[in-house]
Symmetry: C2
Subunit: 234 residues, 2 copies
């Protein structure tokens, strides 16, 4: 049972910044499946797990290899139907995809642009040149130029989380209702990603998101508790 391995993006000081790997770790924990993470450098991804994958997470289970967080979640529901469902119905899965696209548009994009230099400062030495070149090509300026205008973008990212705040205002402990679910792992993954690298606060200390985020961190024996929120909260 302990043979499940998850390749997890590795950064300086054993930080684990990938939001998609966080989702996959929570998905495994939700299913109650023991697993070990295998830290992997960004530039080493093409060399691991058979060498056919370009991104992490990558799951290895009983001789099978699955990459992409959605494919991993589907695999787990399919292979382990006797354990708690990640998606209790096709509609639930579709609605979780809406949660993702909504948060990508309102949160992940402004977050990424606000904290890209912070991410760079945390990547392993072997990844630095690749990270800078590939990202600067994408954004059309240097990481330092991008970082210089980030105050406004951090405001936008903070405002973009309003949908999560409003949803929690209904009183349920989780975005998925009384029980945590994949929508919570998607949203929390985006925040843990930034908490791991942030050098400027994204949230204010009285943000109504924080009790929810703490609840998600505490799940499954404290899976997300190792991530300190100190640098992300003003």
């Amino acid at each position: 049972m302990t043979s499940i391995r998850l390749y997890d993006l590795h950064a300086r000081d054993d930080r684990r910044p990938s939001p998609f790997c966080w989702r996959a770790k929570y998905a495994l924990a939700h299913k109650g499946l023991p697993f070990e993470t295998v830290p992997v450098a960004l530039t080493d991804i093409p060399a691991v797990a058979g060498g056919t994958h370009k991104t992490v997470p990558i799951l290895e289970d009983r001789g099978k290899t699955v990459s992409d967080s959605w494919a991993i979640a589907d695999y787990l529901d399919q292979e382990y139907p006797d354990r708690p469902w990640l998606f209790g119905s096709p509609a639930e899965r579709a609605l979780c995809q809406f949660v993702e696209t909504s948060l990508v548009a309102s949160v992940a994009r402004p977050i990424l642009l606000s904290y890209l230099k912070d991410v760079y400062d945390c990547v392993l030495d072997q990844d630095r040149d690749y990270f800078r070149q590939s990202r600067e090509k994408l954004i059309g300026c240097t990481l330092e130029e991008l970082a210089s205008g980030r105050a406004e973008r951090i405001e936008a990212a903070r405002a973009g989380l309003d949908s999560v705040r409003l949803a929690l205002k209904g009183g349920a402990p989780f975005l998925s209702g009384a029980h945590p679910g994949y929508a919570d792992y998607i949203a929390a993954g985006f925040l843990l990603w930034i908490a791991v690298v942030a050098t400027a606060p994204l949230l204010k200390g009285d943000d109504p998101l924080l009790p929810w985020l703490a609840r998600v961190q505490d799940l499954y024996g404290g899976l997300g508790r190792a991530v300190s929120l100190r640098a992300m909260v003003a």
Copy 2:
């Protein structure tokens, strides 16, 4: 069976602008329940259906009265469990609430501010003074002042729909997946609301939302087909 009545916000030329009434009408149709709508003026709401409700939709069914679109959906699932579920699970309901809060933050707020004067121009004569006074108090300026700066807000509302566009990019015909569901009715309700009153286009003619919106309009014998999208699409 035809005794179900739904009080539906009434505007000039028999327009039905309320996004929340649209949701309730789709919820009834989803359950396969015949119903008749009772058009009601904004200022008449306190006088109908027992006189204890401040907003529409209000549902009357077998001597019971239910207002609020979420309460109506819950009532229908509870009273008619042998018909297609609006919420197949508590998690589905919670995720639909996230869809709502996400669209309120990104779409409904900028839409409302962009088209408030258009809504005013459509309300019944008896509602005009009340509408102007109550809304101007809320926004802190006149409806005309608000309307003068709307070009930028329409852009924001159009961009705010990116989460819906991205979700549909996955290839499913509906936000709820292969079959239409409450999330579709929430999102389409916001658009039908504006289509009914718009004097300036919200969407471009090649917007990838439009085929989805047409699919929702065509559901249940063409429930939303009476709404022309002409004024809303450039």
